[in-house]
Amino acid sequence: MSGGVGSRLFAGWMEIAARFGEVQTLILVCLMYAFAIGPVAVGARLFGRDLLGKRGLWADSSAWQPADTVVRPDLERAHRQF
C-alpha cells in the first residue's frame, strides 16, 4: 500500500520535474537565441551579408555552384563529422 502511494508520488514528482525541465530548457534556449544568435545576426545584416544566398540571380547566371567534394575521399576525411 505504502509502496503504491510512494511510487505514485514519485511518478507525480517526475512529471512536475519534467515540466520544470522543459520550461528551464526553453528559457535557456531563448537566452541563447537572444544573446548569441541575435548580435551576430544583426551584425551580418548591417554588413549586408546574404548568408543563405537568397538574393536573386543575375540575368545570365546559373544557380549551380561548384560542389565541395574531393576527387578521392580518404579514410581520414571519412572519419570527420565535417
Binding site: T25, L26, V29, C30, M32, Y33, I37, G38, V40, A41, V42, A44, L51, L52, G53, K54, G56, L57, S61, S62, A63, W64, Q65, P66, A67, D68, T69, V71, R72, P73, D74, L75, A78, H79, R80, Q81, F82
Partner: protein
C-alpha cells in the same frame, strides 16, 4: 570487410550491411517498430542485418553514417542567423534535440546500438549518389541527386566511372526542388516528408493553370535547370510551417484543411506544381547530358521517387538509359553510405549490382505455421504450385482481394510482390473497394499495375523494364484494366520478372486463366501504417480490413474461416494519418 550503413534522425531511418562489397541485408526501421517514417536510430534494422549475415557487432569493420552532422549544424545555425528574429520558435524546438543527440552521433549510436565500431561519415548527397551509381548496371553514368536538403546541397550532379564518382555541381539550401514540392504538399493539406506522392497522384485530376504563376513568382528557373526560390513566400527556413500568408495570398486561397474535400482549385494546384517539377527535372537532365555526354543516368534523392517526372525523363530526356535507386529517399542513404566507404574510401572494386529489391526479412513455412497455430487461425497448406493456382483462381473467379506475403521483404517504399495486396485489375470496382474498405485511404489515389515484364510493352507504352515501380507509362489503347488506369490514362508500372518467383508465377497463372498479365499491386498496409514485415503484422492487417484471403508462404487463409479478432483498442487510432 563488413560495412554497416546507417541513416537516421530525420525521416526513414534504415540500415544496410555489406560483406566484401556485396549487399547482404537492408531494411527500414519503420517495418520493425511499426511507426511510419520512423527516424530513430535503427536498432532493430541493425539487429536484423547482423542476424541475416550471421555476424556479431565485433565483426563489423566500419559503421558509416549517411551525412556529416557538423556541416548540417553549420547550415542550421546560419539559417537562424539569416532569419533572426523570426526563427525563434523553430530554434527553440530544434536546438535542444541537436544538443542532446544530433551533435553527438558517435555517442548516440554506441548507446542505442550497444556496440562501438570504427565510425565513418559520408556527405548526404554522396550517400545518395553512391546509392544511385555504385549498384547500377552501368560502368559509367551521369549522376543526379535531388531531394529536400542534406548538409547544404539540395541537388547535385556528377559523373561515375568504375568504382568512383565525382559530384562537381550543386544547388544549395534554401533553393530546393524537394522543399518546393513539400511546400505545396503542406499547402494542399497533406503531411510533409510523407504524402508528397499524394500530390503526384492528385495532379492528373487538375489543369496546371498555376504553373506560370509559380514560375513567375516562386521559382526563378534557368535554361540549365538551376533555380532559386523566392523565399518571401516560404517559411521553411525560419518557421514551423512550409509556407506563409504571402504564399496563400499569391495562390488565392488559404491552406487546405487536412481531410477536407479536394476542390477543383486543389487539383489544379497539384497539377501545376507537378508540371513545374517535371519542367525543372527535364531541363536539369538535358543540361547534364550536354555537359557529360553520357548515355546513362543514375538518380536518387526523394525527388527521384516522382515516377511521373521519371517517365518523362525516359520518354523526352536525352539519356538512353535511366536507373533509379529503389530506396531513393533518405533510407537509401544507408546503402549509399556503406557503398561509398567500400568503393570510394577503400578503393575496392564494385562487386554489387542491384537487380532486385528483396533484401529484408523472410519467414519460412514452419515459422508461419507455428505462428498460425499459436493464433488458432484456420489455414490450409498447399504445395507451391497449388498455392499459386488457387490464388490466381480466387482473384479471377471470386474477385478476391488477396494479402500476399512471400519471401524477403522489399527495400524501398514500394511493395513489389513480397508484401503486397493484390486484386484483379480488370474490375473497376476493385479500385474503390481496395481504397475505401481495405486501405482506408482517399478514393482519388490510383493503384499500380504489376505486369509480366515480357508482356509490358503490349499493355503499356514502354520499351523498358520498371522493376521498382518508378516509371509511369500510358496504358495502351484497347487494354481494359480500369482499376490501375489513372484518369489521364497513365499507370505507375511495375514489370515483374522471376526475381520474386512466386509473384511472377502467380501473374503467369492469372494470365493463363484470364488472358491478362496485369494485377493490382498495392502495399500491404492500411493508411498510416508501415508495410507489414512479419506474419503477425500481415495477419493483423488482414483481420482488421475487408481483405478476403491471406496467403502466407504456402498457407492460404480465408476471412470467413477466421475467429473474430478481439482487440482492446481501436487500431485506427494507432496509425497517424499522413
Amino acid at each position: 570487410m563488413n560495412i554497416l550503413g546507417l541513416s537516421c534522425f530525420y525521416h526513414d531511418s534504415a540500415a544496410a550491411l555489406l560483406r566484401d562489397g556485396e549487399l547482404v541485408a537492408a531494411a527500414h526501421e519503420e517495418r520493425f517498430t511499426r511507426k511510419r517514417h520512423d527516424a530513430s536510430i535503427p536498432t532493430e534494422a541493425v539487429a536484423y542485418c547482423l542476424d541475416e549475415a550471421g555476424l556479431t557487432p565485433e565483426q563489423i569493420d566500419h559503421v558509416v553514417f549517411y551525412d556529416k552532422p557538423l556541416v548540417k549544424f553549420e547550415r542550421i545555425l546560419l539559417t537562424y542567423l539569416a532569419t533572426f528574429p523570426r526563427s525563434l520558435p523553430s530554434f527553440s524546438k530544434a536546438i535542444p534535440i541537436w544538443l542532446k543527440e544530433k551533435l553527438l552521433v558517435p555517442k548516440a549510436l554506441s548507446r542505442e546500438l550497444g556496440f562501438e565500431s570504427d565510425l565513418l561519415f559520408a556527405e548526404h548527397h554522396q550517400s545518395h549518389a553512391a546509392s544511385a551509381f555504385l549498384p547500377s548496371p552501368f560502368e559509367e553514368a551521369a549522376i543526379l541527386t535531388v531531394d529536400g536538403v542534406g548538409e547544404w546541397a539540395t541537388a547535385t550532379q556528377g559523373v561515375g566511372r568504375g568504382n568512383h564518382f565525382e559530384l562537381d555541381r550543386e544547388i544549395r539550401f534554401p533553393h530546393s526542388l524537394g522543399l518546393l514540392y513539400s511546400a505545396f504538399t503542406y499547402y494542399l493539406g497533406f503531411k510533409v516528408n510523407s504524402a508528397e506522392y499524394k500530390v503526384m497522384g492528385a495532379a492528373p485530376y487538375g489543369e496546371p493553370r498555376f504553373a506560370d504563376l509559380i514560375l513567375e513568382h516562386l521559382v526563378d528557373l534557368r535554361e540549365d535547370g538551376s533555380f532559386k526560390l523566392n523565399m518571401k513566400y516560404f517559411a521553411f527556413d525560419y518557421g514551423l510551417t512550409m509556407t506563409n500568408k504571402r504564399f496563400e495570398t499569391l495562390m488565392g486561397q488559404p491552406r487546405r484543411e487536412a481531410e477536407s474535400a479536394m476542390q477543383d482549385f486543389h487539383w489544379d494546384v497539384a497539377a501545376s506544381v507537378q508540371k513545374v517539377t517535371e519542367e525543372i527535372m527535364l531541363r536539369i537532365v538535358r543540361d547534364l547530358h550536354a555537359r557529360t555526354g553520357m548515355k546513362n543516368l543514375c538518380m536518387a534523392g526523394g525527388v527521384a521517387l516522382n515516377c511521373v517526372a521519371n517517365g518523362r525523363i525516359v520518354r523526352e530526356g536525352p539519356f538512353e538509359n535511366l536507373w533509379v535507386q529503389p530506396a531513393a529517399g533518405d533510407a537509401g542513404g544507408a546503402l549509399g553510405a556503406a557503398l561509398f566507404a567500400h568503393c570510394c574510401v577503400h578503393g575496392q572494386p564494385r562487386r554489387f549490382r542491384m537487380d532486385h529489391a528483396y533484401w529484408g526479412p523472410e519467414f519460412d513455412d514452419a515459422t508461419i505455421r507455428r505462428f498460425l497455430d499459436e493464433r488458432k487461425a484456420p489455414y490450409e497448406t498447399l504445395s507451391r504450385d497449388a498455392m499459386i493456382a488457387e490464388t490466381a483462381r480466387l482473384m479471377d473467379e471470386e474477385q478476391a482481394v488477396i494479402g500476399w506475403f512471400q519471401g524477403r521483404m522489399e527495400w524501398g517504399p514500394r511493395s513489389l510482390g513480397a508484401r503486397s495486396i493484390l486484386a484483379d485489375a480488370r474490375n473497376e470496382e476493385n479500385w474503390k473497394r481496395v481504397n475505401l474498405k481495405i486501405k482506408f485511404r482517399e478514393s482519388f489515389r490510383p493503384f499500380a499495375p504489376a505486369c509480366l515484364a515480357e508482356r509490358a510493352s503490349e499493355w503499356f507504352d514502354t520499351d523498358r523494364e520498371s522493376p521498382y515501380m518508378l516509371l509511369v507509362s500510358q496504358v495502351r489503347e484497347g487494354r481494359h484494366i480500369p482499376a490501375v488506369t489513372h484518369v489521364d490514362g497513365s499507370a505507375r508500372l511495375q514489370t515483374v520478372t522471376d526475381s520474386q518467383p512466386e509473384f511472377c508465377d502467380l501473374i503467369r497463372a492469372f494470365e493463363t486463366r484470364t488472358g491478362c498479365p496485369v494485377v493490382i499491386n498495392t502495399s500491404f498496409n492500411v493508411r498510416g501504417e508501415p508495410i507489414v514485415c512479419t506474419p503477425e503484422d500481415a495477419y493483423l492487417c488482414f483481420m482488421r480490413t475487408d481483405m478476403d484471403v491471406l496467403v502466407l508462404g504456402n498457407q492460404v487463409l480465408r476471412k470467413q474461416d477466421q475467429p473474430e479478432l478481439v482487440e482492446d483498442f481501436d487500431w485506427r487510432e494507432k496509425y497517424a494519418l499522413d
